[in-house]
Amino acid sequence: MNKNQPSDITEYEDIYANIRTVEERGAILAGIESILDALYRKDKDVPSLIETNMPRAVVVPLKRNLLANDASLDVRKEYLEGLQNALQKLQVLSLEIAFDPTEETITTLINWVRKNIGSTVIMDISLDRTLLAGGRISYEGRYKEINLARLVEEVVRKQRNMITQLLGNRN
């Protein structure tokens, strides 16, 4: 596990453990803003807002943490602002892949990430079809490209003489 992952956000682990990508984090941050706006207004129903504005994966833990019986409005506000800060601190692994990721792909990848890198890491997945397969990885200022297009190029470059010879024999 990455020893550098933020340690002061573990309070919110049951929330961020359900966040896989930066898109999901963006949706949760937007939902928190709307709940903060409605928190002190009697005409707004916070539980309904959570259910309608938040991704399904975080609805249950958020309701459990935020709507405890003895929690005052100020405590709830403090919790939501803390959650905002915690989400901003999550580390991001950028992945460029050659196909539109399915739910299965995202789940497979985030499981690998949580197991091998850390529980506070989420993914920023983007599409680049020229990669053919594999991916282009960028994390904490480092960059690595392990994809099929590059492998083919390397093979062709290494085997060029042989290929040229074969082409010559065919002609």
């Binding site: 020893k3 550098n4 690595k144 470059r157």
Partner: protein
Amino acid sequence: MDLSLFYQSSPFLLALSIGILVINIALALVLVGIGWYAWRHLQKLEKHAHGEEADAGLQAQRVLADAQRQATKTVREASLEAQEILKSAAAVKGDTLRTLTQEIVAISEQHQRYLKDASLKYVETYEHMAESAQEEYLSTLHAASQGMAQDAKQTLGMFEAYLKEQTVGYKQAMEKKIEELREETNEYVNEYKKDKLKRVDKAIDEIIVSVAKHIIGHSITVKEHNELILKALDQAKKESFFSHLDL
């Protein structure tokens, strides 16, 4: 105070008043007499002045008449003297002209003779000088032509040598230039060939890669894609890609 009372009281004062009155009258008469005398005297003076003025006019007329007569006389005498002077001047002029003409004629004849002698002498001298100059000129011309011929011969020799030298140098320079040009051309051709071959190689590579990508890209399933990404991540992990910040 009433005066009649005053006179009645003092007869002396009355007599005194009458006396003063008589004296005043007498003084008035004396004044009138003096005035009349002065007027008469002035009349006389005026008459006398008019008389003197008339005398002066007559005197002036006489003086003018005398001066006119004197002037006429002087002019007449001057004219006579001038006529005499002119007559004598004419006589002197005639004599002078004759003498001057004779002198001029004599001088002219003398100069004519002198010029004739001088001309003959100059002609003789000129002919002599011309002959000498001609001889000298011919001699100089001959020497100059000899010198020029010699110079021309020498110059031609030098020019010939220079031309030979230049021709050799030019030939060498041309040969060198041609050699350089040949080398440059060969170099350019070789570079061109290399570049073209490189482009051909690159084009072949691109074609092969493109074909391979096209074929492979269409033949990979989602499962294989996932596996390839996980392989890439595993390889990155093996190369400590994710642990560079561990302390």
